[in-house]
């Protein structure tokens, strides 16, 4: 599976969309994903004839919408339907599918810090040629950011952001041959916790793409790429080159 393009959007990038009243029914997760996907799809010429398959990944899910739903339930004794429908992890996928109707298949993956890697691992099983969209998003309402950082022993500075990437799994395709990046052949998960955290700066749980893109972009032709997660576990990618 070869990387074709990558994009990242942070909450600052979508400040205009957030304040637009037309988007009042959309969550921050949805706006982040839509912006990141828009930038991603505009940054590359998609080959014609290959189906688009989307894996939408989130470590926390629609945290802000879930919090608002419960807060309203607790304080005002009412359950707001828009908050409930938006609180489900899959709502972000639903929103993206409506914004980008040419996406044919979709799945929502929520494996905490390994959400992106779970999606990549599942995507590697796709036998039929396809364009694989991997999107990782997490967003934190101000009320919960510190609490969530505390759950990581305060060693992560959490950010609200979305990273997305498009891969092609057909190595005979011209687009694949034109891509300068190595192809992911396999992924290995090591859940033994190594000593010490890497200080990753602003981070979000569904953020496996930034590090992967960074390493692939070095174009060092390394056959193995190791990436450490904030909890000390690690991911190892087997990479092949044309």
């Amino acid at each position: 599976m070869k990387l074709l393009a990558y994009s990242k959007t942070t909450e600052i990038d979508i400040s205009e969309q957030i304040s637009n009243p037309l988007n009042r029914k959309k969550s921050i997760n949805m706006l982040l994903c839509e912006d990141s996907l828009k930038k991603l799809l505009e940054s590359t010429t998609l080959p014609v004839g290959l189906p688009l398959k989307l894996f939408l990944c989130s470590g926390e899910g629609e945290l802000a919408q879930t919090y608002k739903f419960y807060y309203d339930l607790a304080v005002n004794q009412r359950a707001r339907p828009i908050l409930f429908q938006n609180s489900l992890h899959n709502s972000t996928l639903g929103s993206c599918s409506i914004a980008f109707p040419n996406i044919e298949m979709g799945a929502t993956i929520s494996s905490s810090l390994h959400s992106i890697e779970s999606a990549l691992d599942i995507a590697l099983n796709e036998i039929e040629p396809a364009l694989i969209l991997i999107v990782g998003v997490d967003a934190y309402p101000s009320e919960l950011k510190e609490i969530k950082e505390a759950s990581h022993s305060g060693k992560i500075n959490l950010e609200s952001a979305c990273s997305s990437a498009i891969f092609i799994n057909d190595k005979s395709h011209a687009c694949s041959k034109a891509s300068p990046f190595g192809a992911i052949k396999d992924i290995h998960f090591d859940f033994s916790v190594k000593e010490g955290f890497e200080n990753l700066g602003p981070y979000f749980p569904a953020n496996g793409l930034d590090s992967l893109f960074e390493k692939l972009s070095l174009l060092k032709k390394e056959e193995k790429i190791d990436i450490f997660k904030p909890n000390g576990t690690s991911i190892s990618y087997d990479i092949t080159y044309d």
């Binding site: 470590g59 926390e60 899910g61 945290l63 879930t66 919090y67 739903f69 419960y70 807060y71 339930l73 607790a74 304080v75 359950a79 707001r80 339907p81 409930f84 429908q85 938006n86 609180s87 489900l88 992890h89 899959n90 709502s91 996928l93 639903g94 929103s95 599918s97 409506i98 980008f100 109707p101 996406i103 044919e104 298949m105 979709g106 799945a107 929502t108 993956i109 929520s110 494996s111 905490s112 810090l113 390994h114 959400s115 779970s118 691992d121 599942i122 590697l124 099983n125 796709e126 036998i127 009320e143 919960l144 609490i147 969530k148 505390a150 759950s151 396999d186 998960f189 859940f191 749980p205």
Partner: protein, 392 residues
């Protein structure tokens, strides 16, 4: 004769409002015995206590969880049952565990979180919020079972576990794994009960799928896990021969009225299985009992499968277990294939006259070789899988 694309279902573990095990659920479906009350299908306290004992006494449990968390124990029970049924002796590094769920370990944090909201987030010990991310369920299972392989959580709403079943089939077809444990788990909570209620989708009467007076969903809980393999010394329960998911790209909660994505999921699953729609002997539909779902399904099934193939829903017995529904209902599909008996649609009195389908109100004795199982989920996620019975 088995063809290369067939995946063997070698082990089963099921927990539903009918009780512990697949047999309890099957009997209730044959006898039209609804296990929902006031619109909810719950795992009884007695059954929960029993399954906790079974889990805690199992040699598969390597580290006893600190507390009796419902969805964790639901999952442990079903996983241990499945791997024992399959005759596994130990886990392999290359094993994969796929879990379909919508709410994960909801009861472990929800009540305290609601209390917290009322206090405006002033609380010292917030460690229970660690249970809020769905991935925590995978971490808890890894620890409890000392599971060495990969664990992936699929949270595609009501299609989560059906989609996971298709993904498991892909893992084996791609040869990246030789064994997969796959299934789903769901527990009831305020989020889903109040949430679905706010969308006016619930009924406090027993669910009546495809009925002209159908009035909504009965929410329920439970779990079901299976072992999938490409080869086994054990006789398989059934085969998976196809599984595909397609999106409606239409609406956040309502299915496409003509079942656009649903039809594609059926068509592509048939292609993967290398069979035609004429070869499908039975459809086990999602059949939630809501106006929109049943209509969309009826339209799509009628167009692709036709009016002479029986179509059933069993949610009148066990309710709708959201992300776990596909997995729980798979157990009934397997029983149908084994027994040559099609259960009736519990709760169906008067078929909606708009539906030109064969919707049985009594059980039918009929051999079923190919069975289509489908689910539709919020966000427009439509997942179908095709099962094949084992030749006698």
């Amino acid at each position: 004769m088995k063809t290369p694309n067939e995946t063997l279902i070698t082990g089963i573990g099921v927990l539903s409002p009918s009780g512990i095990g697949a047999e309890a659920l099957w009997e209730d479906c044959l006898n039209k015995k609804s296990q929902t009350s006031d619109g909810l299908g719950c795992i009884s306290d007695k059954d929960f206590k029993s399954l906790c004992s079974l889990v805690n006494e199992s040699p598969w449990l390597k580290k006893k969880p600190l507390s009796l968390e419902r969805s964790l124990y639901f999952s442990l029970y079903s996983i241990i049952s499945a791997i024992s049924d399959a005759g596994w002796k130990e886990f392999n590094q290359s094993d994969v565990l796929l879990i379909g769920t919508t709410t994960g370990q909801l009861s472990s944090w929800e009540t305290k979180f609601i209390d917290l909201c009322q206090k405006k987030l002033e609380e010292e010990d917030l460690s229970y919020l660690d249970k809020q991310p769905l991935g925590n369920l995978g971490d808890s299972l890894r620890e409890a079972l000392s599971f060495p392989g990969k664990i992936h959580i699929i949270s595609s709403a009501c299609s989560a576990s059906t989609q996971a079943l298709g993904m498991a089939h892909d893992y084996l077809n791609s040869k990246r794994s030789e064994r997969v444990i796959v299934g789903g788990v769901e527990e009831l909570g305020q989020l889903t009960i109040k949430g679905f209620g706010s969308l006016k989708l619930l009924s406090n009467k027993s669910c009546t799928p495809f009925d002209q007076e159908r009035s909504g969903i009965n929410l329920s809980e439970g779990s079901a896990f299976y072992t999938f393999e490409k080869k086994s010394l054990m006789r398989p329960h059934a085969y998976i021969v196809g599984g595909r998911t397609f999106l409606d790209s239409y609406h956040m909660t309502s299915p496409h009225p003509e079942g656009r994505g649903y039809k594609r999921s059926i068509i592509e699953s048939l292609k993967q299985a290398d069979i035609t729609s004429d070869e499908i002997d039975l459809v086990h539909a999602h059949g939630t009992g809501t106006f929109n779902n049943d209509q969309a399904e009826a339209n799509a099934i009628g167009e692709i499968i036709g009016a002479s193939t029986p179509v059933i829903s069993t949610k009148g017995v066990h309710g709708h277990a959201l992300g776990a529904s596909g997995a729980i209902e798979l157990s009934l599909c397997i029983q149908i294939l084994k027994s040559a008996m099609i259960p009736p649609i519990t709760g169906l009195n008067n078929v909606d006259p708009e539906f030109k389908l064969l919707l049985p109100k009594e059980k039918i004795e009929r051999k079923v070789t190919y069975l289509l199982k489908s689910t539709l989920g919020f966000g427009g996620v439509n997942s179908s899988i095709i099962l094949k019975g084992v030749a006698q």
